[in-house]
Symmetry: C2
Subunit: 281 residues, 2 copies
């Protein structure tokens, strides 16, 4: 089951060609996206997702995102959906056709089933390796043209990093700086547990502000946890009492192994955090 | 005038939708490309372009590029072309459809007229600014998952850098490292002239090996120039007797201004180098 609609309300066949070869989203990865989890007919954290889409679009000098129009588009696609009660809604906005000065963005929403591999990762946890992201924590502020912290469609190196992890027998990646600072996963935010405190790196070092991580922090605080945005280092991962990847579709995924080091069993903490998080919806 | 054909020989309408929304080239910028200049019915440096396409594809773990099939595709599209004698041939190969384990790459060639802005840049030269690329010269070797030196479709930051140049009143960009090393332009190779020697940075620092720069070096050597692959620094640009951007469609473009500093008039050197370069074809 899949549903595709464009921002103007046109429903279209997801298995048929819909995009021109000279769309800059294709030729240059020049566009922005969001991935939203829909459960029981409701898109989770839609406001933060659309705010982040708007922020990414602004970083790329794309035309402003009209939040209300995207909300209508999401409503429409969710209304057309007749598959599983939990599904994925991908929102995409590209710069449009190359060389056309009056080009308007190519903007669509695509609903799709959750990948079974994601369901398995949620249940079983994952192993990760740390890989050098090649940037320093001050770069995002110094060089905004590098688009660090924008959710662009130029994700080929994120995909390459995950392939590198699989080559090394792991499932996923946590990116680090040369100085040992922790950034983020290729498609997730890092959350670390120490005592009754949750930690995640501050987004101004050039990482994507996590919508799922923010929702988790909000609900965990209500449940009595302390939450902190603080720089983390590789050694912190190795000594974590609990380590998680937060992302919309995977929700909170337990990391049981980092760089071949087994972490302490965090199933109890995971259960507690997930209860708080799911209580939000 | 435009001509589009897919690698299987299918001709298609370039102004009609041809690509699915779930093509990974679109969703993730996950693919590779080349841009070839065709003059008088002949693609320039097609061998080096296809070799580089194959190298980029290998860096992305894409299926091997079948050189002979791409040569046939280029022949076909060039045969169909009835526009200007000089035109642009773009070659694109993406990872194909998301989530399909038997997905084959989406592979096509698109012929298009040369952008008039490029013709003006060739005639008048350009002004550039230097911008931090945020990486160090050892990173490419240390972190191959970052795909430095692969010509991927994840080019959104290259486009953002050029927009930043225009905001600052310049035409284009030369990327630098934090230590002042020179990398490349967002879509070009840097060539510097000092006396009777041409310099360009070595590609193993994480830049794309330039097909046009290589052809220029080959022809300039025959014409008595010395050519060197050596690290360059920002100060070298400011003190250059001649400074050029090499790329397939712009050929060799004079840089008359770097970071608001006017360079010496290099029209004579440009004329000499262009005579050698054009003598190849």
């Amino acid at each position: 089951m899949r549903v595709l609609a464009f921002l103007d309300g046109t429903l279209a066949a997801p298995d048929a060609p819909q995009i021109r070869v000279d769309d800059l989203g294709l030729l240059r990865g020049d566009g922005v996206f969001e991935t939203v989890l829909v459960t029981g007919g409701k898109p989770r954290e839609l406001g933060p997702h659309l705010d982040r889409l708007a922020r990414s679009a602004a970083m790329l000098d794309l035309p402003p995102i009209e939040i209300a129009a995207w909300e209508r588009l999401c409503d429409q696609v969710i209304g057309e959906w007749s598959g599983s009660p939990e599904f994925v809604l991908k929102l995409v906005c590209t710069r449009g056709i190359e060389g056309d000065p009056s080009a308007t963005p190519t903007a669509f929403a695509l609903a799709n089933e959750v990948d079974p591999k994601v369901l398995r990762a949620r249940a079983e946890g994952v192993s990760v390796i740390t890989l050098d992201r090649g940037i320093d924590p001050g770069l995002a502020e110094r060089a905004p043209w590098l688009l660090l912290g924008a959710k662009t469609m130029s994700y080929s190196f994120n995909m390459a990093a995950i392939r590198e992890a699989k080559r090394r027998g792991a499932d996923d990646v946590i990116f680090t700086a040369a100085d040992g600072s922790i950034f983020e996963g290729p498609t997730s935010t890092v959350v670390l547990v120490r005592g009754r405190t949750l930690y995640t790196p501050p987004s101004d070092i050039g990482i994507l502000p996590g919508t799922t991580q923010a929702a988790l922090f909000r609900s965990a605080e209500k449940a009595g946890w302390t939450v902190k945005y603080e720089p983390l280092r590789i050694e912190d991962l190795y000594e974590a009492e609990g380590l998680f990847m937060a992302s919309s579709v995977r929700k909170l995924t337990r990391i049981h192994t980092v760089d071949d080091r087994a972490l302490p069993d965090s199933k109890a903490v995971y259960g507690e955090l997930m209860a708080a998080y799911e209580g939000e919806y």
